[in-house]
Symmetry: C2
Subunit: 201 residues, 2 copies
Amino acid sequence: MQILPAALESLIEALGNLPGVGSRTAERYAYFLVRRDPAKSQQIAQALSDLHKNVKYCPKTFTLIDAESDVSELYSDPRRDRTIVAVVAEPLDIVALEKIGSFRGTYHVLGGLVSPIDSVTPEQLHITELIKRIDEDNVVEIIFATNASVEGESTALYIQQQIGDRPLKITRLARGLPIGVDLEYADQITLSRALDGRQTL
Amino acid sequence: MQILPAALESLIEALGNLPGVGSRTAERYAYFLVRRDPAKSQQIAQALSDLHKNVKYCPKTFTLIDAESDVSELYSDPRRDRTIVAVVAEPLDIVALEKIGSFRGTYHVLGGLVSPIDSVTPEQLHITELIKRIDEDNVVEIIFATNASVEGESTALYIQQQIGDRPLKITRLARGLPIGVDLEYADQITLSRALDGRQTL
């Protein structure tokens, strides 16, 4: 016997496709929406319908931009320094870095990290385009702002090889103790990296 | 400066309306969808658009039913006993009870619980309709299957007063130790209720 109406079941099933959303959470979302103003559901429906047709990848930085834009504002803005490029894995990483508010360079989104386990090869990432930008924009510094993981490290290593002997500074985000964390609770690898990267006071 | 495209920002804002979804979770959902097949987003959009027009409340039990149905199958099915009515707060409570698979009575959804703090008065709940069902269907037992909370208890008490001296059995779900829980970790109120409701072996 069918307990919930078909339309509610369809919505629960559709919402179950979202990352980390199981059937209980999907049920909660759907039931919340069915009790609210239909306009709220329509607003989400509209935003979903418009999503893909109004979004594209920037051909320079490979971040997401409005479909009618040519390149990302983070690249076209004359106040941004194109000779400094922060290399990130995903567009959302840019959101995190821009929140600091002090970085004045530009970004380059790889579209992932090299990961044999997920069969992501360097050819699938925007590495060729990064090398091209290095040459065209006379880049003086590449900052690897990738996760402090095996994938992050090996992707950085691969790109470093591709850059070869071009005369530019290659840096990466510092590894060390997160602010506000007790030393006694820090894991061994983080602590070991913090010791290796110790700075003169 | 705009970091994410407007269409993505709109979707993040719209998804932020879902219960328990903050901006980080909404960002994750939106970014997940933008990278997936547009058909997936369209499927969710369609389910949301169709939701309200294909769902309505059953005029007898007040659960959610297909818009083209007359009454809930849980009421119209001749195998269900209309003289036994489980009173629940919300339609999703029925889903939980039906999972047991052994209840053969019917349901009545109140549409909430009496709660002065949320300004929910008895008049806003489907209590008059419940009394009407009691008289029309010659109900012999009402089972209060509401939360074991102050609101659940006081709603049951109010309905009991409305039922007055009609000759029917009024019961509620047993309170006691949940299965699989260690006695030493049970809270005092639960333990006290379990003691009060102790059963002869």
